[in-house]
Symmetry: C2
């Protein structure tokens, strides 16, 4: 297969407040760049679309400076090394790296997020169940609030890669797992693909009653992916000593629209709340990958991806994610896996 000889890029056209729209992005291209000494050239295979990107563009996310018009949009991708002038990186290596939204990128090793052993599982899972979203789930399940037999485990954003993995691992650990998601399609993924015991569509009237019915023994652990207002509603159904893993995006938690927590009900329930930041578990990634790749091969751990094809579809696919209409991990297939 021939690789393109130009570097297609998605660039910022304008900075705006509020939800981004198609006019905020523009396509561009340039020559395929050449790596200098200590650098290497990668080509993008699967671009990961994530909610944090919106914040990063505006400089509101740790480690990301605000972008100017004409800059390539931030992003991580499964990538393959085309040419290397760094001793620790070999042509043909697969990795997750900070490529940005483009088909080629010249990088240094500090832009590597994770090296990929293709034997572990499908390449695309390195930005999903076998990547940071999976490790986030592992931090919650293995470290912060391990579920066990008979627990009632509730997880929000249940169709997503973190929520889906958290819930499946909780089921494997013997818990009754109840997802919360927006819309029938996402609930179907939680039920049919992930095998949750129940999934509550919070966009439907009477969802709180449905949740209560789905949790006849109360909630023991809640993995929170969405923020304070839902957490304030769920505390009413907590058992005493319930555990909460706060895994929402801190940037969103800060904004006024997401409201705040009143400690009272959490004291009443003797609840335990802990904040999760995935970077704390990077040293545990090899162990997680051994566990998860085995479960994946056995068909006991499943994933759902929402693919767009071609880098030119990236803005549209990102806007779909921003509207919450993606079902599963949002990915853009940019280039071939092999070659």
């Amino acid at each position: 297969m021939n690789l393109p000889n130009r570097n297609a890029q998605v660039r910022l056209r304008r900075q705006r407040d509020g939800l981004p729209d198609a006019g905020d992005f523009q396509m561009g291209d340039g020559p395929v760049p050449e790596p200098g000494d200590g650098e290497f050239l990668v080509r993008t295979i699967y671009l990961s679309l994530d909610p944090y990107i919106r914040k990063a563009i505006r400089g509101d996310h740790p480690g990301h400076a605000v972008l100017s018009a004409g800059d390539v949009i931030y992003g991580r991708a499964v990538a393959r090394v085309v040419k290397s002038r760094h001793a620790g990186v070999k042509q043909g290596d697969y990795m997750v790296a900070e490529t940005g939204w483009q088909s080629y990128a010249v990088l240094t090793p500090k832009k590597i997020v994770q090296r990929i052993d293709p034997a572990m599982g499908p390449l695309s899972t390195a930005i999903g169940v076998l990547g940071m979203p999976g490790l986030t789930a592992w931090g919650s399940i293995a470290h912060l609030a391990p579920p066990t037999v008979g627990d009632t485990y509730v997880v929000s954003a249940a169709a997503g890669p973190v929520g889906g993995t958290v819930g499946q691992l909780a089921k494997i650990a013997g818990a009754r797992v109840v997802g919360i998601a927006g819309g029938k399609e996402k609930c179907d993924v939680a039920l049919r693909t992930y095998g949750f015991d129940a999934c509550i569509d919070y966009k439907k009237d009477g969802w709180e009653q449905a949740l209560q019915l789905a949790c006849p023994n109360g909630i023991d652990i809640y993995h929170d992916n969405v923020g304070a207002p839902l957490l304030m509603k769920l505390v009413a159904y907590f058992n005493l000593y319930a555990k909460v893993v706060m895994c929402g995006r801190p940037g969103d938690y800060h904004s006024g629209e997401f409201g705040g927590l009143s400690p009272g009900p959490f004291i009443g329930k003797r609840a335990q709340l802990r904040g999760l930041v995935v970077y704390d578990y990077e040293k545990d990634l090899p162990r997680y990958l051994r566990v998860a790749s085995t479960l994946l091969r056995e068909g006991r751990l499943r994933f759902k991806e929402d693919h767009a094809d071609g880098i030119e579809d990236t803005p549209g696919h990102f806007l779909k994610l921003m509207r919450g209409e993606n079902v599963g991990k949002a990915i853009v297939a940019v280039g071939p896996e092999k070659g």
Copy 2:
């Protein structure tokens, strides 16, 4: 010593919103009541004044129905059995019991909060350091967030019986202890009576800078006795993985004036927050009393009481507590210890 032959009582005169005032209470008296079968008569020695009483009067506290005009005010006291018609209770027994604000009460055993062994320490400490406030501190120190050598331990409401005991136990465990309190007099108690390493007067300008200077290595554990707004300020000085024991009064936490917590900064600090309810540790009271009474005898654990004398001073002393002007445990000495 002769005991009074009438039962002096403080009764509710009117229910109002907002801070209570002297016009809300009225003195009354009645005959000394006679215990029926299965009941016993106690006389009040030390009446405990506590912030929860304000809520209880209005029926806003668990287990307390709203009071009507003419009802005796709720309250706990160190009391002694005068006459018993219950096989498990003997004349001369000391106990902490739900007597209400009156000099005599006829009770059943379910009104007993705690039996008192007078050999453990001064009788009045059974409603302070050797009672529920002390056990609250023990729940925090021994169960929810044990401090250790080198920790920086911060506690609010530092002059009070819970805050003072928490801080002294943390010091005994090797921590650097920094109190937060309102006013110089309370800070002096924390420093001189309790021996804290520092105490910050939050009513003084620049108190946050003073706190930062007093915690050069950051905060490892924060025992919170006051609520969300202070907690939201302190999180900036937390170390990673800092622990918070939420021990404020849930009733107050509910009210809008106390604001809410934004989860974002707590996630960023990977903080662990746990709610404390003292009733969970009742089974551990004997162990705590052994530990605390020994420390008390050795002079390593100290307490501060703010006494009023005579039941007729109860409303005034309660209003002082409501204004936050008490320094130490608020107590009304109603009757003699002996006899």
